[in-house]
Symmetry: C2
Subunit: 342 residues, 2 copies
């Protein structure tokens, strides 16, 4: 049998523990895996692009455990009653190739994306950061806000979305949780006075949701939504304002903000900062940019954390995904050779 966490179990897991606490704990799994970055077998994700959106498979493996995630990104979905992103993922044992754990990952991806942003910002943002601008108030927004509060203590939000209903939803969800929220009329207004700017929009276009003139010295830019060929969010001039940090360079060159600049544009892989081999922020005035596209190791960490967290509870269910014949060479025996009656 294969361990299974479905949507119902995932909702109970997050509701019971609280997203803020879970993401803070998940950061320790993420950091542990980022620190042993070189022990993973890594590859760019495999994307199937259509006019509707993209479907991706994101595999990664260490010597013991293989993981992959199925995830889609369909920017027109919300207008048709569907979510932009849905996902599920699997852990498998490398020694025999058997899948051992299957989980919904629509919610888990939201948690891991925000936890990754917060992990990176803890090392790159100014230590005194309290105020975050949020450009885009869609599905990912509340998770970002809670992860940044749990991990960095950010509790002041300046929010802008082209869709006022999305902004209202964010305020409705987060105001009761103790955030100080300012609703803004433009991205430029949101960025004003912010220590951190998170861009998280869904439009599949070479958009510029944040302009160079809106970036002030000392800011940390957490650029989440530019994550596909032809889908970016930042004025390319911003990339020259300070060091740019990425997850996995070969994938980010294809999918990230840096797809709009030269193929040899210098970047730092974030794991090197954690490992101490490259510098992170070097002054309070510096602008730092995290050009995030999402990488498979983050899903590996999230699945590992989830599996450990639900082990032995009623949230860990099982499904019969793997056939197990008594004799491993007699698969046919499972479906029964009909014997003629004597």
């Amino acid at each position: 049998m294969t361990g299974f966490v479905g949507v119902d179990a995932m909702v109970r897991w997050v509701s019971t523990h609280g997203a803020e606490r879970l993401m803070s704990e998940m950061v320790s799994y993420l950091e542990a895996d980022y620190r042993r970055w070189t022990s993973f077998d890594k590859v760019e994700r495999m994307a199937s692009h259509t006019p509707f959106g993209v479907i991706e498979l994101m595999p990664v493996s260490d010597p013991d455990t293989y993981a992959f995630k199925y995830v889609n990104g369909h920017p027109f979905n919300p207008g048709r009653g569907y979510q932009t992103v849905t996902a599920f993922g699997v852990l498998a044992d490398v020694h025999n190739g058997y899948p051992v754990f299957l989980s919904e990952m629509t919610l888990l991806t939201a948690l891991r994306t925000a936890a990754t942003s917060a992990m990176v910002a803890r090392h790159l943002a100014r230590p005194d950061a309290r105020t975050m601008a949020m450009i885009g108030a869609g599905s990912q927004a509340e998770f970002q806000a809670l992860a940044f509060r749990g991990v960095l203590g950010v509790d002041r939000l300046r929010v802008y979305d082209v869709d006022p209903a999305a902004t209202a939803k964010l305020v409705r969800n987060l105001a009761p949780m103790g955030f100080d929220i300012v609703v803004c009329d433009s991205a430029a207004e949101a960025a004003r006075g912010a220590d951190i700017v998170t861009t998280c929009t869904a439009d599949k276009a070479s958009a510029t949701v944040l302009h160079d003139e809106d970036v002030a010295s000392g800011m940390h830019i957490n650029a989440i939504g530019g994550d596909c060929p032809g889908k970016t969010e930042l004025d390319p001039a911003i990339l020259s304002r300070g060091p740019v940090f990425v997850e996995y360079t070969p994938q980010t060159r294809i999918e990230g903000e840096i797809q709009r600049v030269a193929a040899d544009f210098p970047v730092t892989e974030f794991w090197e900062v954690l490992a101490g081999s490259r510098e992170g922020r070097t002054s309070a005035e510096q602008v730092t940019v995290f050009d995030s596209v999402g990488f498979a190791i983050e899903d590996f960490s999230a699945l590992r954390f989830l599996r450990d967290s639900v082990a032995g509870t009623d949230l860990a269910q099982q499904i019969d995904l793997v056939a197990a014949p008594d004799d491993p060479k007699d698969l046919f025996g499972m479906v029964g050779a009909p014997v003629p009656a004597l």
Copy 2:
């Protein structure tokens, strides 16, 4: 909710309808998809190799439906009580990216691999073929035999396996089903007098389980087991005996028997034979070789057939794999913002 066929349902489906009949019906789905080959978005599968074996993701898409399969290949597994190959697969809607159908595919892969072999042999073997040599009597063997009987009328088997217990298992499973089976002491003996030779062994090595001198004029070679870098079965000289047919050339160059010959070695993609744009067998004396590695379109066809076949029956279950918030932009609303008590 996502449609789900687990192991129990799969076993009931195959036991109820019979593997031979299901594979014969599956061939019409395979041929329909092979005939519209150019309408698919195709790519080599993504393989993660370790000393234990390989884990692969095999995606493919047409304009409406995306499919992928997770499959492993671990040659040492049977000696440790595990199967060599396990698999599961998914169908998704391209228009919104939602996964709509999940199935076990250990058994389904066995069915689709044999159905594909039989589909190809129906077009390439001599029409009067009655006798098949089977080199390798592992998990795939009975399925091959039944598919070839259902689709071509082959009912005489000459069987050899290095493991006598595997051969005994095959005889135990198939003799009651009306096959005329001759157990042989070597691959050469098995091939003697056969119209078709199926090689289906699991050893991960550049093995030669069939030698050139054992190949007689008029034979069709159905080479199944050579399907990974460094894993082959045929004496390379056999590849020059007659035309070599493949599924998807870029993948077969990496994984198939033709990995041992020049990168420009001429091959014919089988779909072209079906489409009438390339010749298949042109004489009764010709040797034909199907260098099969397994391609994602075959899984697409098999999943499509399974989904249609179980629709509306109690074999089609459902699992909660995709979160469905009332407001697609309010994913966070699903996990509940805890509101402070007044």
